[in-house]
Amino acid sequence: MESTKPGSGKAGCSSTGAALKILLIDGDPIRREILKAGLLEAGFLNVVRIESTNGLLDQVYRIDPDVILIDLEDPSRDVLEQMFQVSRIVRRPIAMFVDQSDQSTTEAAVEAGVSAYIVGGLQKERIKGILELCISRFNAVARLQDELARAKDALEARKLIDRAKGILMQAKGLSEEQAYAALRKTAMNEKRKISDVAQAVVTASDLLK
């Protein structure tokens, strides 16, 4: 399930995949592309994305999908739940994908941040592979975003340490190595991160300007 290799065929779809119409509702344009590409590689050729959730109910009826995949960060999920109801405006009932015999898939989906709905009488087995593919892509995107955030933090920390070193070199006449050693020693003594000590130096220096 963790595999993100392209074309790993995890969805286990056959030629029937091409006939299924899948509607993707995801506000994140990058992830939307990644998901669509993943579904195409797995043989699901009929993937429709929507840009705006304005008048979602009408859009869903117009598109008439067999499966709906929605990002849990989208408040419009509650609109889809209306289609469980029997009423004049609901033409084709939908149900949330819940596999009582395989609770872990449902849980993994919610944790990854995606939910799946089955429209009409589609069999549950047919959606499981699609959902698993989505879960792995959602998790992969989350990991990438996490790595990106950490790389950004690291870059910020490095910039901060460079500034602090410069301040110490100028104020105390230290070499670059000595300035870094002073930051590191203080950090170790105070059990703080070097970047936090650097931040303190920069702040203090700004105050004393």
Partner: protein, 393 residues
């Protein structure tokens, strides 16, 4: 996934009636009880329900009918939910566009503040639109299993308007309500605070009714936990209730209102102007864009008048609405499962109380509907026979 017993993750939707939960945590009442609570802001009731059901949340700010539907297993998987504390009574309002408000005023045979007059006026406006071949009016509410859905249906049906046949009633996430009113997708909506006030402030909505004018006492949000969790963590549950009771008392002390409004208005919490939150808590609302005010000491009850103590009659009334509108079958088993969601015994156990104090001025049947017979939880079939517009029952 395993957390120690004292570390809790609790989900909420940014609405004014999450006040007791947010204040319990941010004012440190949960910490005083030895609980380390992480609040998680959510965007949909479906998310709150699912994350509570599968255990990603230990507890949640949950709309009462969703808790009941989950216990009954209707609309979704069956996961029994219990509520040891009520986060609020009332708080919803019905807001319409200025255009619809004018049309209602023109069609009214009396004071529009009277919900029977406004409901009859709606019936006339709906009939006139049909004669002219115009599209039916569209109203927004928040969820199929929501107080808002049942409140607006109860009101319009009293005026002879069938909510499934004569108008379009659509689900709209609360953050999209105001936008939908502005761009003409809906002609009115029933939603909780602060969204009615936001529409009025933008000059695009008129508050027609506080729901407290339609039902004097309507249970709104619950502090909900899985029944299994309540059985596995009895001590934690009681501490959680005590922290909430302290928060509710703090909120109801009018001297604290300024501080409470600031806590709730924070970006990670409700995220609107503190002044708007304040109006909600005080029950003193601007109801028209031109600045007319309306005050009610029943607009939103957070703890006062015994609001925090779960009342099974409220669950019975909500279940009766599910039956009325064809969402649930009528059976003694379903009724028992619905009323078992609200747990005054757990509330009493936490606070060392043994009986419910009578509250002067509260409706005798526990509901106080503006029309129809008194509600009797032992005779739901009788309650339903009073209405001609219905789907089931």
């Amino acid at each position: 996934m395993k957390r120690s017993r004292d570390r809790l993750r609790i989900g909420f939707i940014p609405l004014a009636d999450a006040a007791a939960l947010i204040v319990a945590v941010d004012k440190g009442f949960t910490a005083q009880e030895g609980l380390d609570v992480e609040l998680v802001r959510e965007v949909s009731w479906s998310n709150v329900r699912d994350k509570l059901n599968i255990g990603l949340f230990d507890a949640a700010h949950l709309i009462a009918p969703v808790a009941i539907a989950s216990s009954l297993g209707i609309g979704h998987v069956r996961v029994p939910i219990v509520a040891p504390f009520c986060l609020g009574i009332n708080g919803n309002a019905i807001t319409v566009t200025p255009a619809l408000h004018s049309a209602l005023a023109e069609a009214a045979d009396g004071d529009l503040l009277d919900p029977m007059v406004s409901a009859r006026a709606l019936g006339r406006v709906v009939a006139a639109r049909r004669r002219r071949g115009q599209d039916p009016l569209t109203f927004g509410m928040t969820f199929p299993f929501s107080t808002h859905n049942y409140h607006i249906r109860f009101w319009m049906a009293a005026g002879g308007v069938d909510p499934d046949e004569d108008v379009r009633l659509v689900v709209l996430p609360p953050p999209y309500m105001v936008e939908s009113l502005a761009n003409g997708h809906v002609d009115g909506f029933c939603v909780g605070a602060p969204w009615n006030s936001v529409a009025v402030d933008l000059g695009i909505g008129v508050i027609l009714h506080f729901v407290s004018e339609i039902l004097a006492r309507a249970s709104e949000k619950l502090l909900a936990v899985r029944q299994s969790w309540s059985e596995e963590n009895p001590d934690t549950l009681l501490r959680l209730v005590r922290a909430h009771q302290q928060a509710a008392s703090f909120i109801e002390d009018t001297r604290n209102r300024g501080e409470v409004a600031e806590i709730l208005a924070a970006p990670g919490r409700i995220g609107v102007a503190a002044e708007v939150v304040r109006r909600t808590l005080d029950g003193n609302l601007k109801v028209t864009p031109s600045g007319a005010m309306r005050a009610s000491d029943r607009y939103l009850l957070v703890g006062r008048h015994g609001a925090a103590r779960p009342d099974p009659i409220q669950a019975a009334w909500l279940y009766a609405q599910m039956v009325r509108w064809g969402q649930a079958p009528l059976s003694p088993e379903h009724l028992a499962a619905a009323t078992a969601v609200l747990r005054p015994d757990l509330y009493d156990a936490a606070l060392g109380r043994s009986e419910c104090a009578a509250h002067a001025g509260e409706p005798a049947d526990g509901i106080g509907a503006f029309t129809g017979p008194s509600f009797d939880p032992a005779d739901i079939a009788g309650h339903l026979s009073a209405w001609s517009i219905k789907r089931g029952g």
